[in-house]
Amino acid sequence: MSTTVTASPAKNTAPRLRTPRKKHSPGKPKRNVLLTVLMALMVLYTVVPLIWLVINSTKTQAGLADSNGLWFAHDFALWDNIRTTFTYHDGIFGRWLLNTLLYVVLGAGGATLLAVLGGYALAKFQFPGKRAIFAVVIGAVAVPATALAVPTFLMFSKMGLTDTPWAVIIPSLVSPFGLYLMWVFAAEAIPTELLEAARMDGASEVRTFFQVALPLLAPGIVTVLLFTTVATWNNYFLPLIMLKDPDWYPLTLGLSAWSSQAQTIGGDVIFNLVITGSLLTIIPLIAAFLFLQKYWQSGLAAGSVKE
């Protein structure tokens, strides 16, 4: 299995690589200079903030104020900062981390599940009103979540759900983009003949879905999961208006609250903890990305082999 996996992309890409090599000999890389420069700028643009974050999370509040942003201060306080981040205000950062995890597991997980079920149904079943649903989904993709936050707040307030974790989880379950992605993916990845064959063999619809369709959908599922996870992890505005009790804050809101402490009279200025907290916040996301990407790639290859 693994040998076919590695062999197949090589087979696919080999001819494509050969053609450009013929046109541009290695001695004349002129045409690539502009592209290289652009790429380098792009890399700088994306990496510099990360480097800044790593460097500055090693500084104390005093060090932040009197040192250059892109180099280390005289003191190295990373471990101390991490410890303080987790102990400050009776360790509320840990609580926020758990809240975020809860929102991601239930919100992003649920959104992915719904998108998979819905996408599969829309791709593989014929029923009246499908065009209308298509229009609604496409329309929903175009509406930014921020614009829906206020009406959602009013609705949830009427239902008495504001200031509870449900106010964050339930809206996160809806992912029009994920649904659309799964729809398109299911239409392409699952040959209708395969489903028909399964039905001919007497498999129930549920069994067909779980045993035939689901494995084929794996790469799409991982992609949607990745998108919804990132969206839920970074969600700021929705929890901002829904939640008042700091015990239910996700990390985004908590860090912003810490940051705004610097703007209040007599407030404790803790930019060092905000920065360290931000670094700690993105680490799980980077980990999730790397971890899921592996599945994503192998999933893509597995799909291609089966065909």
Partner: protein, 445 residues
């Protein structure tokens, strides 16, 4: 992104204000509150015990709440402290208009009190005994919390203005500490010439600073009489302010740094922002925000608009108020009184808060306190002096939070484009008049 967010927040605030207006017309249940609540009633409530929720970001309240619970073991104070400023008011307005989840006690800055008291969002505390506390407080804060014989909150702290300056920088370039705003302008020029990286102060348009400076200059742009309003930036005080500040802007003598950002704290630390005209609560922020500049800064009296004039103004400061929808008003009042007038005051001053009570301001222990951060200076003398010289006839708009939110779209333009400051103030006036009219206020010309 930040802009859209604040727009939407503003939208929510607007919706809530309207909703508040509607409820204010509908209900007259709060008439029952005018009945006096005796000290005995409050003591009974304290003995009986219960839970109160306090929404306040003031850091010293943590200790105060703990002490209060020690004294009254049956009372539980649930202090919710992670929100401040805009977000705090949005949450409060939303809760009031939804009629659910309203705290028993809320921290409300003086400039925002009018919005809540006018829409009957707050309990009149006079029947609880708050009206007898008037003489305890300095005139500025008391004027801010009271309206005739109604009292909408108890002053928690105050912000008589002072000029904080970086002595090291002033000494280095041999610049005298300005005592008038004209001297301030000269100092700004000298400093920027001597070191092009250094500025006399930073300002990119801050409604709080502008209104405080107008207040000090003797301008009274807002006249509030019930639902009748006058809004005009056309008096002599406003002219004085415009003249000086216009020159500071036009000659690019102000650091283009937004207040309260990390850049700002950095500027205060490295000498590129040399002075700060602000409230007397600032020392606490210096100590935690700019620890590296310890010993460099000093406090001085605010520069005068006319030589020899001692007029001062308030900047910032907040009260604790009891929302009309609070569940446990006796306990809520008891806590407010404890924190802002009783034993809590000493605790709070001990932790660096700046008092609004006369007794503390005038006490020798307070006045002779040496500030290590300011090189051992007895800075409280300057602050107390300023507090005594605050004119008490200033009023904010009943929708000041909204007015402040459009400050950068109007006056703020003068800082970033060729718009004149006077035109910016006129635009702010027009927009405020228009909004006030839409909210049902009668605007007097």
């Amino acid at each position: 992104m930040r802009r859209t967010t604040s727009r939407i927040l503003r939208g929510i605030a607007l919706v809530s204000t309207l909703a508040l207006g509607v409820t204010a017309c509908g209900g007259s249940d709060d008439d029952s509150d005018t009945k006096a609540v005796s000290a005995n009633d409050i003591q009974t409530a304290l003995d009986k015990g219960g839970d109160i929720t306090v929404w306040a970001w003031e850091p010293t309240l943590k200790t105060v709440a703990a002490d209060f619970q020690k004294k009254y073991p049956k009372v539980k104070v649930n202090l919710v402290s992670e929100r401040s400023g805009d977000k705090h008011y949005t949450a409060l307005s939303n809760a009031i208009s939804a009629g659910k989840g309203v705290p028993d006690v809320a921290q409300i800055e003086y400039f925002a009190l009018g919005q809540y008291s006018l829409t009957k969002g707050l309990t009149d505390l006079a029947p609880y005994g708050a009206d007898k506390l008037a003489s305890k407080y300095t005139p500025g804060p008391w004027n801010a919390v009271s309206d005739g014989d109604k009292v909408y909150g108890l002053p928690m702290d105050s912000g008589p203005m002072a000029l904080f300056y970086n002595k090291t920088v002033f000494d280095k370039y041999k610049i005298a500490v300005p005592t008038t705003w004209d001297e301030y302008l000269d100092a700004a020029r000298k400093l920027h010439k001597a070191d092009p990286k250094a500025y006399i102060t930073s300002d990119l348009g801050d409604a709080g600073l502008t209104t405080s400076l107008l207040w000090q200059a003797g301008s009274r742009p807002y006249k509030v009489d019930g639902t009748k309003l006058g809004i005009s930036f056309d008096d002599a005080g406003a002219k004085k302010y415009e003249t000086v500040w216009q020159q500071l802007i036009s000659e690019k003598l102000l650091a283009p740094v937004n207040g309260w950002t990390d850049d700002w704290y950095k500027g205060l630390g490295d000498g590129t922002i040399a002075t700060l005209p602000t409230g007397a609560w600032m020392p606490a922020n210096f100590v935690t925000g700019v620890p590296n500049a310890k010993g460099q800064w000093r406090a001085a009296a605010m520069p005068a608009w006319t030589k020899g004039d001692k007029a001062s103004a308030e900047n910032g400061g907040s009260s604790l108020a009891v929302p009309a929808l609070a569940k446990n008003k006796e306990l809520a009042y008891a806590f407010t009184e404890y924190a802002n007038s009783g034993a809590g005051v000493a605790t709070r001053i001990g932790e660096g808060a700046f008092p609004a009570t006369k007794a503390e301001l005038e006490s020798p222990a307070f006045q002779s306190k040496k500030f290590d951060y300011f090189g051992g200076q007895e800075a409280n003398k300057i602050f107390a002096d300023s507090a005594a010289n605050v004119a008490s006839d200033w009023s904010y708009l009943p929708f000041q939070p909204y007015a402040n939110s459009i400050f950068n779209d109007t006056v703020g333009k003068a800082y970033v484009s060729g718009t004149k400051l006077a035109d910016g103030l006129k635009a702010w006036q027009d927009a405020s008049v228009k909004y006030g009219g839409e909210q049902g206020f009668t605007i007097e010309k």
